[in-house]
Symmetry: C2
Subunit: 267 residues, 2 copies
């Protein structure tokens, strides 16, 4: 039996912070066929609100530490302001969106990151038990389009800040059992580029062999490595393909034009 298609799309600050980009993206998102899930991170609003409230961003090894005040800010901004405005806009386009944290419906249950040398604060780590695909499938099949912000819970009453890229890939891996799942990461480039200075030099398809080669040739640079490593992990766990591209170009999918860089097991 052919499985229904599911697109899971993650957007970040570069889409959220620009209302025109966001509007355009949400229209294209709505026009995609099949089931859809949107995962969004934060944007500069959270940083601005933290600054206004006099909170200092604390980073350890490039990762934000989520103290209780920062958790309050992200719960307000990601879970309230950004999430609900996205939902209202999707509804306008006739997309029956429902805005969620991982606490809602117990959809994503995580574990507070253990304190080793660094205390990351109220950060939740996803494991293989975090997501019950049947729970989310019920929502999709009831006709809702879930819109997840990057907040989860521990099941003991505590909300936890969780990386949006990781949420998107965990959802994809979990739902790949039920749907023909494509995971799309929107970022600021048109795809993985042969030449970082040439936006036209998009590599359209990468399989593990080519990935190995591109790494050896140092065409894929340091910042892209964790993104692509995670993508190939998701593919190894059953996700059909992972696409990395620019949100502006999402409409290409509907028009059957090439969009971004597609990672999969076989070109």
């Amino acid at each position: 039996m052919e499985m229904t298609s599911l697109h899971i799309i993650k957007i970040g600050g570069n889409v959220i912070d620009n209302s025109e980009n966001l509007h355009h993206f949400l229209q294209d998102f709505t026009s995609l066929d099949g089931y859809k899930i949107l995962v969004h991170g934060g944007g500069k609003v959270a940083t601005q609100l933290s600054e206004t409230l006099g909170l200092e961003a604390r980073l350890v090894e490039g990762r934000r530490v989520t103290d209780i005040e920062t958790l309050r800010v992200v719960t307000m901004v990601y879970g309230g302001l950004i999430n609900k405005n996205i939902v209202a806009q999707l509804q306008r386009f006739g997309n029956n969106a429902i805005g969620l944290t991982g606490a809602d419906g117990n959809f994503i249950r995580t574990k507070k990151r253990p304190v080793k040398t660094i205390d990351y604060g109220f950060v939740g780590d996803i494991d293989e038990k975090s997501i019950n695909p049947e729970n989310i499938s019920r929502l999709l099949e009831t006709g809702f389009t879930p819109v997840f912000c990057a907040i989860t819970h521990d099941g003991e009453g505590q909300l936890l800040n969780t990386n949006a890229d990781t949420i998107a890939s965990a959802l994809a891996v979990s739902l790949a059992k039920l749907y023909d799942t494509t995971l799309i990461y929107c970022f600021e480039k048109a795809g993985v580029l042969h030449d970082i200075n040439d936006e036209e030099s998009i590599i359209r398809e990468i399989d593990p062999a080519l990935y190995h080669e591109l790494k050896q040739q140092q065409i894929i640079h340091s910042g892209m490595l964790p993104k692509l490593d995670n993508a190939f992990t998701a593919i190894g766990c059953g996700v059909k393909s992972v696409v990395i591209g620019r949100s502006d170009d999402l409409g290409n999918i509907k028009q059957q034009k090439p969009f971004g860089t597609r990672l999969s097991n076989h070109i």
Copy 2:
């Protein structure tokens, strides 16, 4: 065929602002039999955040004017901070809560209040078309406990601030067609009192005839009139009973002890 019971409970700042009260209330709420919906207003957090952000509360004839900045604050505080913390706590108690605005799932669609002499700003008024009971029924029957904050949308992409009491009563009226519906307003008193200074003097049952009498005797004072008028309107529209009581006493229902003041068509 006997209809399933549904309790719709509205809480306000006096419950939300006190974490012990809230904890206690959420446990009692979870222990209620049958379907349940929670509706919550704001609390002092919204006022505090507005002050910190330098926004001035503008009231016209005792009603808050919702300018665009205030709408942002209530979306963050009601839709994010308060709503998601309530959901996380309910999940802890094993109650499969899902936190919503009226935009989510298009559950409550309102009209921006027209500007006559006063411009109330981004305020949404509920009418008889605002709520589709089948939509909400699908959520209940899927096993979710909806938790609504006092924000709705206009279907055109605009979020709107909406009175929580009105949301609760509109939900009750709409769902009374499908369920044996009881609407409960939690407030700071133990019920409607014979003597405002005596918390023991609770009037346990009021029907329209007694209500008329109590108004004539001026036992029911001005502040209670709109609450009770709305309650009897809901009853006139099919809601089985409306109960007004203190959140601390909600556990009485489970213990089959008297709780608050019950308004209904027949004592």
